[in-house]
């Protein structure tokens, strides 16, 4: 009998345990969902502002739900779409060309450095990876770009900076090094040349790592505004993000001058139009992120974030 009541008590304890467990799991889910919403919230705020009537935005302020729904901001942008289309073209061009070139430069280097019987592997690796420890920084780089290469105000200035990211080379090299050597040996026996082996065996096998690096590189190009801040003065060459920065800082300057009682500086888009442009500029990057997010999560495990 004692054993029976003991069992009963035990059973009861387990039930409360399970209930507690369920409750705590439930509250953890709530916490994480709140955090996720917190991550999304600022973006929703911008989207909402872009669909708000300009006067309502000035009067009632920013809100998660438009106080007065309106598509005027988008209509205004598409009435004179020249500027944003131009910026889009610049950004798309640099992103596509930059990403392709970056992969074309980084993956052969990473592959060569991953070959154990490459005589120059050690010295070249040292040469490449030392740059992660010490960098001259932005000042010599600025002088190099503007005084020696003289690429300011050219599309080259926007593409060159992210062509080789040494950290990505490191990741690719690790991935190539882990590929089964049997396949490569077999191809060699079949008489395939080294370059052919790289193209038709190593690259296809490394697709996941390549996709991750491609995505990171593409997002680097898409979100880049610092390069234009340093090297682009020609409005024809403004990439999207830099154009966003410029209209924001023009609006700021106008506000400042307005309060002093001066006249406006040029044409400045309304507040809602600026928000709409931010939405249009972020949309493709966010889409890229959502479609390829599994490569990003893989990127984390590969160590693609510093």
């Amino acid at each position: 009998m004692a054993t029976y009541s003991q069992k009963l008590r035990e059973q009861k304890r387990l039930d409360t345990d399970r209930l507690m467990n369920l409750l705590s799991r439930f509250s953890i889910h709530i916490v994480i969902i709140l955090l996720s919403l917190g991550c999304l919230f600022p973006l929703l705020l911008i989207v909402s502002a872009s669909f708000t009537d300009e006067i309502a935005l000035t009067r009632f302020g920013y809100n998660l739900i438009p106080t007065q729904f309106s598509t005027d901001a988008y209509a205004a942008i598409f009435r004179t779409p020249g500027v944003i289309i131009r910026a889009y073209l610049v950004t798309i061009f640099t992103t596509v060309v930059g990403t392709i070139l970056a992969l074309a430069l980084m993956s052969p280097l990473a592959y060569a450095l991953s070959r154990p019987d490459f005589i120059l592997r050690k010295p070249l690796s040292l040469f490449v990876f030392f740059t992660m420890l010490f960098s001259g920084g932005i000042v010599p780089y600025y002088i190099l770009m503007t005084q020696y290469l003289r690429v300011q105000d050219t599309v080259l200035a926007l593409i060159l900076p992210y062509l080789v990211v040494v950290y990505y080379v490191l990741i690719l090299r690790t991935y190539f090094a882990a590929l089964p050597s049997e396949l490569i040996d077999a191809a060699r026996v079949d008489g395939a040349g080294e370059f052919r082996i790289f193209i038709s065996i190593a690259l296809p096998l490394a697709k996941p790592a390549l996709a991750t690096i491609a995505l990171f590189t593409a997002l680097n190009y898409w979100n880049d505004w610092t390069t234009a801040l340093y090297f682009v003065r020609d409005p024809q060459l403004y990439p999207l993000q830099y154009m966003l920065y410029i209209i924001q800082s023009n609006a700021q300057a106008m506000q400042l001058q307005g309060s002093v009682g001066n006249i406006t500086v040029g044409e400045v888009p309304t507040q809602t139009a600026r928000m709409a442009m931010a939405v249009l500029a972020t949309g493709p990057a966010a889409l890229m992120f959502l479609v390829f997010q599994r490569y990003l999560v893989r990127g984390v495990t590969l160590g693609a974030f510093r």
Partner: protein, 330 residues
């Protein structure tokens, strides 16, 4: 070296003349293979040479009175004068202090938040939901700082920002945030957490997922509660990961994320007292005031401290790492 030395596998079964020929062709292959690899490396090597090594010579600018038309090596050598001027200004010292203070704030905050989120995610791990949560938490990292600046403005604008609206609605005085420097360490910390905690937590979560479940089972039988399990099993096991991340971020304590400090503060001079960091200071010296020598001096100081700290911390990591689990960078 004798050719036969490279091919010890040869046996007497093979006719004597044949292997010679094969060696030669193999040696030829070996040479051509290395040549191909070298050619494959060249384009990227060239890029690194120009953008990473030629810029190294540029640190010389820090020791000259740089004049654009006289070039890097044509400008007058002035020894340590630039550094003397640099450290004589309050701005550079303030920028250094801000950089260190804010980085310590971000590193501590980021570490606590990432560990906590990783632990929570681990407790409720299910492949589908976790992936959804991860996507949400990672998203902020891929929003450009310009756009982040936009929505921080939507939150903090003095006249119609969301936060001031809320303050007004509950009967409080609105605050002109872009003129209140003391609020900004907190604002920047929140922004940096928003942007970085997804990645941080994901790194620690993948470390936790590698832990043997039997350890927790045994602890549970011994009556350990969740917190005890975390502090006695999870934390010690992922500690190496934590330490290496911590040391890496500490090594770059003088480097700040330019985008965060430039865009989110809208480069507002009223806020410089708490938000001006070395990277924004260097930008201003280089582009706005165009004092290239001064910018170069600040840059060199930042780079050399980073270099020394990386070497130092790598040495420390080598001391504490276990042989079966190498952690050091090099």
């Amino acid at each position: 070296m004798d050719a036969s030395f490279e091919q010890p596998m040869k046996t007497s079964v093979v006719p004597v003349a044949a292997p010679r020929k094969r060696f030669e062709s193999l040696r030829g292959h070996k040479f051509s293979r290395n040549l191909v690899w070298l050619l494959m490396s060249l384009p990227a090597i060239l890029w690194i040479l120009v953008f990473k090594y030629m810029t190294l010579f540029g640190v010389w600018i820090a020791f000259t009175d740089f004049k654009v038309r006289r070039g890097v090596f044509g400008s007058d050598f002035v020894g340590l004068d630039n550094f003397r001027f640099l450290f004589a200004t309050d701005t550079a010292l303030r920028a250094t202090a801000n950089t260190i203070f804010l980085n310590v704030l971000f590193i501590t905050g980021g570490l606590v938040a990432s560990l906590l989120i990783a632990w929570l995610m681990y407790e409720i791990y299910s492949s589908k939901l976790t992936r959804f949560y991860q996507t949400m938490l990672l998203l902020p990292r891929f929003i450009s700082w310009v756009v982040v600046g936009y929505f921080v403005y939507a939150l903090l604008a003095t006249d119609n920002g969301l936060i001031n609206n809320i303050l007004r609605n509950v009967g409080l005085q609105p605050i002109s945030w872009y003129a209140t420097p003391q609020a900004w360490p907190g604002i920047l910390l929140l922004t940096s957490l928003w942007s970085g905690m997804g990645i941080g937590s994901l790194i620690y979560l993948s470390g936790m997922l590698a832990i043997d479940l039997q350890l927790f089972e045994a602890a549970r039988i011994d009556g350990a509660n969740k917190w005890q399990q975390f502090s006695h099993i999870t934390l010690p096991i992922i500690l190496p990961l934590v330490v290496i991340n911590l040391l890496l971020s500490l090594a770059f304590i003088l480097n700040a994320d330019f985008g965060l400090f430039f865009q989110v503060t809208r480069n507002q001079p009223l806020l410089y007292s708490t938000t001006d960091v070395l990277d924004t200071y260097i930008y201003r010296s280089l582009i706005v005031t165009q004092n290239v020598s001064m910018a170069a001096a600040a840059q060199f100081y930042q780079s050399i401290v980073g270099f020394v700290l990386v070497l130092l911390f790598n040495w420390i990591v080598r001391r504490i790492e276990r042989a079966d689990e190498p952690l050091a960078l090099f």
